[in-house]
Symmetry: none
DNA sequence: GATGAATGAGGGTTCATTCAT
DNA sequence: AATGAATGAACCCTCATTCAT
């Protein structure tokens, strides 16, 4: 990213980032169109490439940007973190839900990156991810009180299971959420349904794992 | 698909199908290149379009082909189906692993189709899928003996949990498997690791769910 | 044209020629499809190119064929030729009408060649035409009795005028004739209208030119 | 047509238009090659499609352009219109000749459009033509003084005859004009010959029709 | 002789990227 | 710094022609 990008007004920066997130969350990397991005952002073709050099750099910049924002949010959240891992995850989910509602494109971009790494960008995506690793889920799981767990439970497996159940539920709702992105009512309904479902699965798992 | 395609030597058929699966598993439908497919398959541009008419038909042919092969495999497997859901899933996994080893592109194509239905082909993909419906996961879960489960366990949640744990492990290995697609040794090592890991997680879950 | 073509059954020859005439009368040279020709003629791709070498040769063969058939017909007609040039032209027209009705593609091919010489074939078309020149309109105009004409009339201009009036009327009907090629009733109606119109224009010209 | 096209230097515009007219006058719409156009015009493929969007729009733009230029010329000419239909036609011819000399491709394009309406563009061609209708031949024949004609002459037939004689002469020269498009001397000689010939035929017809 | 599978140059079109202004 | 016109490689696909069978 070119230093001149930071000098432009924050609003313009936001416009560009949102336009790009929006395009990259709607289409796979290779299909996403820089033309649409500049059009939606209201900037010229030239300036986008001055700021970001090329499509790939823009994409990687967005990924880094999103990871940072996410980690900021997680970090902020962690202060109020509950030692109960189920509560902790509920907080994470509620935080995510807030993000989703504030900026669906932001969230859908993240989801898309996770599932569909184009060969043109995989390597770099992973490089970035490993650089930001300290801010990832592992950090999110600090200060969990493992004494809630039954003694015979290997918490490593238990935590993965919880996470994957959450992932499974998320996937169930993802496509529908993306489709109802412009119908705020059904969008919120879906989010409520999802939250309820998470509660149910947690209610199922908790007595299995906890004393 | 043009009848002449079936008349061609099986090796050539395999070359073409594999080249196409490979390209379509690396790139989204729109950006997958028929040029690269013919190059990798060692055939001329013209003949690809004689066999399949156009890119879309080729893609849908592959989808149908993959569904059929998968259903063959599942069907063969089901005969020995164990009423124990964990055993059933282990069979499914081992079947998948065999498929993966025989034809990694086959498997990666399937994964991509599942996550990224391009708007140009969604409708037709779904049409094909509904035609092949009888062979899906639901059928895979027939004749499970639920009496193994503890009475207090709601099997609906338990089955989802098992499935999602499998998905989680799969995702962990997917990207690595794709990358080591041309290094058969590390590929097989990964598959072994994955199998072991599944065993571990099942070993963790089983006493929680079963009597 | 390859000698083997003459050895095949006349019916097959006719099939091929008609299929080709039909295609070339429907489409300009460059757009006409050898695929459609072989399909309609019920022959293989290979044999068409064995008989005619390439598309251009086929086209030129057809042109020569059509010129020959036309000159045959004219020659046959000439025997009954009337010394009155108007009557002579009426005979020519009626002969043409017969040809049109017998084989519209034959006729439409001729028309198309006359107006739309593709640069790929112009030179050769003209070469053929000059070879066949002895059979053309000039011959058709032998033994005309010029004593019908007023003395002050330069018959060179008069004959051209008559011919061009006929051409003008023909052009008026051409497109419509081509469109109604499959509706024999409206096709015949058009031909009748055309004949009437020719009579009218001749009735207009005759007193101007003739004593 | 994209607004950027008008901003470009007139010379470049002319180059592009002439290259396109030239290609479309040599080949039927479907086989005319945008590749050849950009090559002859000395521009990139991309910019042609930026200016005109697609081949069809380019073609229709040319048609409209040609109709407009033609109607400009006719309109300018009409101001001096002579009530004598022969003089009127001579003016039309001399105007056409000027156009031909200024831009032969322009003229040949027009000729091709008239004879060979490709199914892909017929509808739109007709739409454009009907929009420009006010400038057609009918208008050209307004305010003719029919009192010059002998009383026994049916002017309807006479006017058609004059027009068709002109068409006949034109056709005689058309192909030759197209061939000598790059040899300006023989081109001009042909045009002079044609003009003389028209004079001769008019000199022949006039005493037949006029008092 | 006859087939039709196979070829590959060429078709129209798009789009990330560059560069003169 | 900012624009958007210009580039050209790559896209999917067609079709006259060849050649193994």
């Amino acid at each position: 990213m070119h230093p001149s990008f930071i000098k432009v007004s924050e609003e313009k920066q936001r416009n560009i980032i949102n336009a790009a997130l929006n395009e990259f969350s709607k289409h796979p990397y290779e299909t996403a169109s820089t033309n649409k991005i500049v059009k939606e952002a209201g900037i010229s073709k030239g300036i986008l490439f001055r700021y970001f050099g090329n499509k790939k750099s823009l994409y990687l910049f967005l990924y880094e940007y999103v990871l940072d924002k996410l980690s900021e949010a997680i970090f902020a959240d962690l202060k109020l973190a509950d030692p109960d891992v189920f509560e902790r995850y509920k907080q994470l989910i509620s935080m995510k839900m807030n993000l989703v509602q504030q900026n669906p494109a932001f969230f859908h971009f993240m989801n898309r990156v996770l599932i569909e790494k184009s060969p043109e960008v995989t390597t770099e995506l992973e490089k970035i991810q490993s650089l930001k690793e300290e801010n990832n889920y592992d950090k999110f799981l600090t200060d969990i009180d493992y004494s809630f767990f039954k003694e015979e439970i290997d918490t490593k497996y238990a935590l993965d299971t919880i996470k994957w159940v959450l992932d499974g539920i998320s996937n169930r709702y993802d496509q529908q959420l993306k489709e109802s992105i412009h119908d705020i009512d059904s969008f919120n309904t879906l989010i409520d349904q999802c939250t309820v479902e998470i509660e149910e699965y947690f209610h199922f798992l908790k007595p299995l794992f906890y004393k």
